[in-house]
Each structure stands twice: as structure tokens, then as C-alpha cells.
């Protein structure tokens, strides 16, 4: 039974009317569909290639990406990227990451991994990072932030990379603060704690204390949240404990460091630069790296703060920053991400540990360690008993007076050292120091204990007739000859910058030099105040070298003292 003409017309009319309805609906859907969260414009760039004809997807992938399988393509590329990474084909990883972030600009893990890859994994033969990639890495994170402004993850990544890799604590603080303010669901431990640490490293101590306070309040709030899972509660409780400790310690340290950093120490920074072979520099020198050791720090409690530094002396651990770069080079973060870098730039950065600083005071103990000096144990370090190799014993005129024969020559500190050497305090004891009364009693006991004295003599404990200090030393041979792509040396002039930044010193050394170098004497050679870093007092020596200095043949001392 066929339709009547009238019925057909009715049906056709209905279809046409509905088609207008479809058009109207589409006009309503378009603005919603075209929001970046659903249909990012960059997906089309991935398909058709970016500006300058950069990476574009193969045709089959393009078709897939444009027909609703965008995330599938992104996922497949990511799996492929992972296999490239694990096979060491790092160069292939970057274009893949570029395309994946275009296809799925909300996949924050890809930005994070890409930035980590750029900033950490491109290295020279000696595993020094190619720091020319720091700018592109940060630009990638900035793009990630722009595409995910309401998600703390990207701010956290930027903050961490600025903190750990670039060591720009103002930049880190700014990023982490934005993460907190833009995403209420931010991870308190990852973002809130790091923000407090960044503020401390930036020299903004009061703000750091306030941030720890905010972190503690936030942890408590999340623990009390009835919707919190047991796992989340557990993590918050654990983080609350560490936040509380940090908050208390920071306040105590702030209070005691004002006195502990005085009088300031003249750093006496020296350096010697030698070209060993073409593009191989030996960088060495000395400086007075002081701090506390072992248990010679009295923290106390927030209600009853301790004295802080009980005894300080030469110690190991702080690092000298060494940077070799084209003269006048200023690191920059590009406006838009590109993994192309200026290959003509030469940029090398290294950190060299300081060690072997030693001290012997008149009437104090030292250990004659034979051919090689060894580190003394923790208790002895806590009372500044250092080991000196024979060569140093001779050079510094430390003599050969054995403890058993030099008891009468011991200074009050020497007696304390002898008591600790003879009767080490139990490991559980909070501080290694015996009280004055205990020291007197135990010293009297030691004076009569010939067996113990003989044992200490056998271990080469000696009494120093003079006060001498051997400064800490740093030394590293830096080979830039094997990586011509990283170190092209195409320019005429270079800057070799040696610096000591107290903000990145370990706590036990910072206890003596302060958060911002308050314990560094202004009379120290190469002392500078960096006003761009919240009045950071530091050591900074800039040496200008010519290309010939670095690439020339034969061994040559370029700088001495």
C-alpha cells in the first residue's frame, strides 16, 4: 500500500522542517564543541604540521585523529615513544612528544615527561646535562600550563624543574603559588611543601614559615574531611608530621642563625684553572667551608629552642658551581615551544664538591693518619678531631706529641676531645658533648688509665702544638673534548663563572653561613651581593677565557689564585 501524494508531501515537509531543526541544533552544538577541552585546535596542527612544516602525522594517523580516534592515536604514539626511550633513541622521542601534546593537550603526563626528558636526559659523555635544553623544557611546561590552567600538575612540574634543575627559587615559588591558587584540589605534599622549601631557598624565610603553617592547616583540614579515603588520610597524616617538624625547625633555625652566623668568615676563595689538553680544563681551588658536624647542633624545641651551632669547623659537602658559557650569554625561555636549540652556543655547568678541610688547635687533638687521611668517626667529627695525612703533619708543623705524653698540654677543648675519643658517648645520646662536670671526671679517669692511653697512642692521637687550618678543596677535570655538538667553541670569548651560593648549601653548612650568606665576610675575595635574588650574599668569580685558552694544544695554567 503506497503513500498517497498528500501523505508523501506531509512526510517530505516534516523531513524538511526537521532538517532545519538539525541545522539549528548544530549551530547550538558548534560553540560548545569548539571549546579546547573537547576539540583542541592543536589537534589539526598535529595532523597537518606546525609552522615551518614541523612534524605532522602520517596520513593514516591523520585520518584516525580527525575522525574521532584522536586519543587512540595519541596513546599509540605514547606507547611508541616509551619504546624509543627505553631503546635509547632519545632524538626520536621529542617529535613524538610534540605531536602527542598537540593531539591531547590535556595529557599532563606527556608534558611532564617531555620536559624531564629535555632538561635531564640530554647529557654529555660525563652525564652533564645539556643546559641549552632548559629553555625549551620550560617553554613546553609553559604550554602545558596554558592548556591546563586549572590543573596543579603542570605548575608542580614547572616548580620542581625550576627548583631542582635550574635552581631559580623565585621562579619555582611563583609557579607553585599559582598551582595552589588555581586548583583547590592541589596535592598539599607535592605542591604545598615544595612551595615552602622554595620560599626558604629564595631567602623568604618568614613567608616560608607562614607557608608551612598553611600546609599544616590544610593537612588537618583534609584529615578531618569525612569524605577522605583511609589512604588519603594516611598520606596527609604522614605529611603533617614532616610539615610540623619543618615548621618548627625553620623557626628555631631562624632564631639561632642570627647568632650562629657571627662573626662572619672570610671565605678565602682561591681557584686555579689549567688547560690539560684541548677542551679539557682542570678546575681546582680551596675555600674555607665551615659548618657543624655530627651531633654538634642543639635544636631544642619550639617552646625551648636550643643554641643551634655548638661547635663549627671545616666540613665537607658544599659545592662550587662552575659554569662555562659564551661571553655575555643569557639563558632565555622561548615564548613558544620548539625543541630546536641554538647549536652554536657553548654552555657547560658542573658542581664540584668541597672536601678535606681540616683544623687542629693549640692543645687540641688530631689524628696522624699515615699516608692517607681518612674521615674520623661521627663522634670525633662532632668535637672537631680531624685526621691529617703525614704530609700535612709535616707541612703544618703539627709535631709528634702522643696523647699519653701531652696530657698536661691539652686545652679545655683538647680534654673534651680526649674524653670523647677514649669514651665515645652512646649512639643514642642526642649530643656528643659531655657536660663540663662529666668531662672533668672522665678526664681524671683517663689520666690514670694507662691501657686506654696506650690504645689511643696506638691510634695516633696526638696533641697539636699550633693552631692550623687546612681549607677545604675542590678539584675536577672537565672534559669537553668528546662532545663537539654540545661544546662547539665557535665563539672568541668565554666566561668561566665560579660561585658559592649559600642558599643551596646543606643545612649543617648553612647553619654557619646563614640562609643568604650572612656568615660570609664582606672582606672575602669575590664577595658579591646579588640584589636580584633577594640580597643573596655569595662568592662569584668571573674569568674571561679566549677560545685559544680552551682549545689550544698542550698543558697551560690559565688562572692561578
Amino acid at each position: 500500500m503506497a503513500f498517497t501524494p498528500n501523505k508523501k508531501n506531509q512526510l517530505l515537509g516534516t523531513a524538511i522542517a526537521l532538517m532545519f531543526g538539525v541545522g539549528f541544533l548544530q549551530s547550538q552544538i558548534d560553540p560548545l564543541r569548539n571549546q579546547p577541552a573537547l576539540e583542541p585546535a592543536s589537534a589539526k596542527i598535529a595532523a597537518f604540521g606546525g609552522a615551518g612544516g614541523t612534524a605532522a602525522l602520517p596520513f593514516t594517523y591523520t585520518l584516525g585523529a580527525l575522525t574521532g580516534f584522536r586519543q587512540v592515536i595519541a596513546g599509540l604514539l605514547w606507547v611508541r615513544t616509551d619504546s624509543f626511550f627505553h631503546s635509547g633513541n632519545y632524538d626520536a622521542v621529542l617529535p613524538m612528544i610534540r605531536m602527542i601534546t598537540w593531539l591531547d593537550p590535556n595529557w599532563t603526563d606527556v608534558y611532564a615527561t617531555g620536559a624531564w626528558h629535555l632538561m635531564y636526559n640530554f647529557t654529555d659523555t660525563d652525564q652533564r646535562s645539556d643546559r641549552r635544553y632548559l629553555g625549551p623544557g620550560m617553554a613546553l611546561l609553559n604550554e602545558g600550563i596554558a592548556n591546563n590552567a586549572g590543573n596543579y600538575e603542570m605548575y608542580k612540574e614547572k616548580g620542581w624543574n625550576a627548583f631542582d634543575k635550574i635552581k631559580d627559587y623565585e621562579l619555582a615559588s611563583e609557579a607553585l603559588k599559582s598551582g595552589i591558587s588555581n586548583d583547590k584540589e592541589y596535592d598539599v605534599t607535592q605542591v604545598g611543601h615544595l612551595y615552602a622549601h622554595s620560599l626558604e631557598r629564595a631567602g623568604r624565610i618568614d613567608e616560608s614559615i607562614a607557608q608551612w603553617g598553611a600546609v599544616i592547616a590544610e593537612h588537618k583540614k583534609r584529615i578531618a574531611d569525612p569524605k577522605a579515603t583511609p589512604d588519603s588520610k594516611g598520606r596527609n597524616e604522614s605529611s603533617l608530621r614532616s610539615a610540623t617538624t619543618n615548621w618548627e625547625h625553620l623557626q628555631i633555625r631562624k632564631q639561632v642563625r642570627a647568632a650562629n652566623t657571627q662573626p662572619p668568615i672570610n671565605i678565602e676563595f682561591t681557584s686555579k684553572i689549567t688547560r690539560v689538553e684541548p677542551k679539557i680544563l682542570k678546575i681546582e681551588g680551596t675555600w674555607r667551608c665551615w659548618g657543624t658536624a655530627g651531633k654538634s647542633y642543639d635544636m631544642g624545641t619550639l617552646e625551648s629552642p636550643g643554641k643551634g651551632v655548638l661547635l663549627s669547623g671545616p666540613t665537607d659537602g658544599a659545592r662550587v658551581d662552575v659554569r662555562l658559557q659564551d661571553e655575555g650569554y643569557k639563558p632565555q625561555t622561548p615564548q613558544a615551544f620548539s625543541f630546536d636549540i641554538d647549536q652554536s652556543v657553548t654552555l657547560m655547568q658542573e658542581q664540584i664538591s668541597t672536601r678535606d678541610g681540616r683544623l687542629a688547635e693549640t692543645g687540641g687533638l688530631f689524628v696522624a693518619a699515615g699516608k692517607f687521611a681518612t674521615s674520623s668517626d661521627g663522634n670525633l667529627q662532632s668535637v672537631n678531631v680531624y685526621s691529617f695525612p703525614d704530609a700535612d703533619v709535616k707541612t703544618y708543623g703539627l709535631g709528634t706529641l702522643a696523647l699519653s705524653r701531652g696530657l698536661t698540654k691539652l686545652s679545655p677543648m683538647g680534654k673534651r676531645q680526649a674524653v670523647v675519643a677514649a669514651y665515645p658517648p652512646p649512639r643514642t645520646m642526642k649530643m656528643s658533648f659531655y657536660s663540663d662536670a662529666e668531662t672533668a671526671t672522665k678526664f681524671a679517669q683517663l689520666s690514670k688509665d694507662t691501657a686506654k692511653l696506650a690504645e689511643l697512642d696506638k691510634k695516633n692521637f696526638r696533641v697539636s702544638p699550633v693552631t692550623v687550618e687546612k681549607p677545604g678543596s675542590y678539584s675536577r677535570k672537565i672534559d669537553m673534548s668528546k662532545d663537539p655538538k654540545m661544546y662547539s667553541f665557535g665563539k672568541d670569548k668565554y666566561e668561566l663563572i665560579l660561585s658559592l651560593n649559600p642558599r643551596i648549601f646543606p643545612d649543617n653548612i648553612q647553619d654557619r653561613f646563614g640562609y643568604s650568606g650572612e656568615g660570609i665576610a664582606e672582606s672575602s675575595k669575590y664577595f658579591v651581593v646579588d640584589k636580584s635574588k633577594n640580597n643573596l650574599r655569595m662568592i662569584r668569580r668571573v674569568i674571561t677565557l679566549s677560545a685559544e685558552d680552551i682549545t689550544g694544544k698542550g698543558e697551560k695554567v690559565l688562572v692561578e689564585k
Partner: protein, 262 residues
């Protein structure tokens, strides 16, 4: 209405006999494989990959089930001449067509929902194993969008099947699916043209060709942090779009089928 439903029921039974559920089995296996395939990634990345791949496989399987089922819907009846037996009974051509169509989308719906539920359950298990909050239910929105997309695709294929042979219908449906899925590009092209003719052409394509790209809702499901403006309105509008456009195509199919010599 009863007649339509009887035809639809028969169509579903017949489709099931064609072992079309094998697609469901295939997807089930794929999901299980995916659950272990990405274990070298972090738990979160693994879940992102599983979700993305899972939704993609459901879409792809749904696409092939819909097209292959729909293109043979009418031609098979003509070829086997079973249509004469049916139409000799008190069944109108429009009832026959509607019944076949409802049977096709019923089959597609059963498959997609089965695949979707298996997938959602697998994701939920994975989330529990990873100690992450279970938000797998959200993924059903993605499954729903795939279903609506396939309902529209079935309508298109059924419409074409009343006047084209299966092979041409297959390529025609797939071509229109690709063009309709790329409507974000045609939309941009329409806006960027300086020539009025070209602008009208691309605008026409954007509004006339079924807009399959509308139904892509994967991003917020993979990245729950993204802020989507009015997601509910978007989903509702798309459901209405699929239903209304399908109605248009079915009316046109009925009109053409009514004049067709069988």
C-alpha cells in the same frame, strides 16, 4: 507498532545468528590484553591509555558492526526474496523498514552496551588495584555518545541501502562518516574562506552532512581535570541531534522505499 517490533525482534535474532557478538568477544579480549599491556607505565598513565584505547576500540567495533549490519539490511531481504512473503502480509513498507532499522540499532546497542559495560568494569577493577578513586561510571557517557553516533550512522546506511547496492553503500557510508567526523575542519574552512561560493559550500557540508564529529567526548573522560563548559547540555543536544537527524533520514528512506520496485 506491534508489527514493527516483531520485525525488529526478528532482525536482532538474525543478526545474532551471524555471530556478530564475536566483535564483543574481540573487544573483551582486547580490553583484557590492554589491562596488562601498559604495565611499564605509571598507574595513571596506564589508566589513561586503557581508557583511550578502550573507548577507541568500542567506537571502531561499533562502526564496523553498524555499517556491515545496515548495508545488508534491505538488499538481503530482496536477494532472498523474503521481502515478498513479508509484504504479502498486512505489513506496510514503512513498517518493514522501520522494523529492520530498529532491529539494526537494537543489535548495535546490545553490542556497544555489552562492550561498554565490560570495559567500564575492567577500568573499575584497574582503578581499585591502583588505589585510585573509581570514576569508571563517567566512561558510560563516552559509551552513550558512541551509541548515539552509531544510531545516526545506521540511519544513514539504511537510507543509502534503499537505493544503492551494498558495496557502494559501504563506501558511501564510510566516506560520509569520515567527512562528517572531520566537520571541525569543514567548520574552520567555512569560517576562513574569502570566496562566498566556497564559504557556502563548506557551510553546507557542515550543516547538511551528518555531523559525526559532534559525538567525540573522550577528552574529558581521559582528563577529568579539564573544564568543559556545559557538558550535560552538550550531551543532551547531541542525543537530540542524533534522534532528529535519524528521523529525517528514515522519512527519506521510507519515501524512497515506497516508490522502489521490488
Amino acid at each position: 507498532m506491534n508489527t514493527v517490533l516483531v520485525i525488529a525482534g526478528n532482525t536482532i535474532s538474525e543478526a545474532m545468528r551471524r555471530k556478530i557478538l564475536l566483535a564483543f568477544l574481540m573487544v573483551g579480549l582486547a580490553v583484557i590484553v590492554f589491562m596488562f599491556a601498559f604495565s611499564t607505565f605509571s598507574a595513571r598513565q596506564e589508566l589513561t591509555l586503557i581508557k583511550g584505547m578502550g573507548l577507541g576500540i568500542i567506537s571502531l567495533a561499533g562502526l564496523f558492526i553498524s555499517v556491515i549490519l545496515s548495508i545488508y539490511l534491505i538488499p538481503t531481504e530482496l536477494e532472498r526474496r523474503t521481502i515478498y512473503t513479508i509484504l504479502s502480509k498486512p505489513v506496510t513498507r514503512s513498517q518493514f523498514l522501520l522494523g529492520k532499522y530498529l532491529g539494526a540499532i537494537g543489535t548495535v546497542a546490545i553490542n556497544i552496551l555489552a562492550m561498554g559495560l565490560l570495559f567500564v568494569a575492567a577500568v573499575a577493577v584497574k582503578q581499585v588495584m591502583a588505589g585510585q578513586p573509581v570514576d569508571a561510571g563517567e566512561l558510560l557517557k563516552g559509551v552513550l555518545m558512541t551509541l548515539m553516533q552509531m544510531i545516526l550512522l545506521c540511519s544513514l546506511s539504511v537510507f543509502l541501502s534503499v537505493f544503492t547496492p551494498p558495496l557502494i553503500n559501504f563506501f558511501g557510508t564510510l566516506s560520509l562518516f569520515i567527512i562528517g567526523s572531520m566537520s571541525a575542519v569543514t567548520y574552520d574552512l567555512a569560517k576562513s574562506q574569502t570566496s562566498n561560493v566556497a564559504k557556502a559550500f563548506f557551510t553546507g557540508i557542515h550543516y547538511i552532512v551528518p555531523n559525526f564529529g559532534n559525538f567525540t567526548f573522550t577528552n574529558p573522560l581521559l582528563n577529568p581535570e579539564v573544564q568543559v563548559v556545559n557538558p550535560t547540555l552538550f550531551l543532551v543536544q547531541n542525543c537530540i541531534y542524533a534522534v532528529v537527524y535519524s528521523a529525517v533520514l528514515l522519512i527519506l528512506a521510507v519515501l524512497v522505499f515506497d516508490r522502489k520496485e521490488v
